[in-house]
Symmetry: C2
Subunit: 179 residues, 2 copies
């Protein structure tokens, strides 16, 4: 099974989290004029949700190299204790692979403990889009396409087990976008 | 009085906050290899301090136009309830004007309620440096030099009065860096 990417939109991604349209903030974010009109504050872009079990939000840079494609999707992960936001520092497109929300997957987990290709959705971010994954959203690790890229990442530090993984059944692939 | 900029360094800025060396993260930040070696996580770069009086951290974009220079410095501000971090999305240099820490200024405030030119330090950030102002640090509003720039800003939302201002006495100027 070959996953086919669809363009990332706020509406399409709503089940999994938020999209931050860096190139179109004026259409998507609350604007406040400050600093005597020299600065526009695009206000409160991410739902930061990191306080469970005494957690705290942290700011990091993720420097991610391109994933060699084609790539067989073997495992998905989720963070049950915190949201995780990614804001690209460059403008190269990247992929976002997510799985259906916890409730539906939990139902399936009782059955065979595996995720299946039709549980997955592959989004293509245009490079000027950030995302913020809701707590407990199944996702693949970052898939950068063309060159090494830096992302500002806002996620959680603190006690507790904040990583779960699930295997993906069968032959599920992401094709080579460069060929 | 003409303020003379000095290069921004972590050591020189320590009294006022942190410097995030985006071009030299490998020398300044804790590194964790994740995603099967494809990603380096430069971990926990900012001391986020926004919880006073029920505050919460928020992520914003500040889009700031250049400040016309020369500029007379008339007022400084501080946020008594929260840190404020600025991470540039581009690579243009900018200025950071800060005032001595609260304790020393408080002493002076009892005297004449004004800040003076020799309380101020003007830093030149190279465009690949972010900063995180400590709670209660006197600072000028953003001073962008060449072209409109976007910054990721991590600061505080919540109840309480999180803005104080103080007048600057006398003739204190920032010169024109373009002439």
């Amino acid at each position: 099974m070959q996953l086919r990417p669809i363009p990332l939109t706020a509406q399409g991604f709503e089940e999994f989290g938020q999209v931050v349209e860096l190139a179109k903030l004026e259409h998507y974010a609350k604007q406040i004029s400050i600093n005597h009109g020299l600065t526009t504050r695009f206000h409160d872009l991410l739902n930061i949700d990191t306080n469970d079990q005494g957690g705290r939000p942290i700011v990091n840079v993720f420097r991610t190299s391109p994933l060699p494609l084609p790539h067989k999707v073997k495992v998905m992960e989720r963070h049950p204790l915190g949201s995780q936001g990614f804001i690209p520092m460059g403008d190269q497109p990247f992929l976002v692979l997510v799985g259906r929300t916890a409730g539906r997957i939990e139902g399936r987990l009782d059955f065979d403990d595996l995720m299946h290709g039709d549980d997955l959705t592959l989004f293509l971010a245009n490079g000027r889009q950030g995302i913020n994954l809701k707590k407990n959203t199944w996702h693949h690790f970052q898939i950068v396409l063309n060159s090494t890229q830096d992302f500002i990442v806002i996620d959680r530090a603190g006690d507790g087990d904040n990583l779960e993984e699930i295997e993906v059944a069968g032959d599920v692939w992401i094709g080579d976008f460069n060929s």
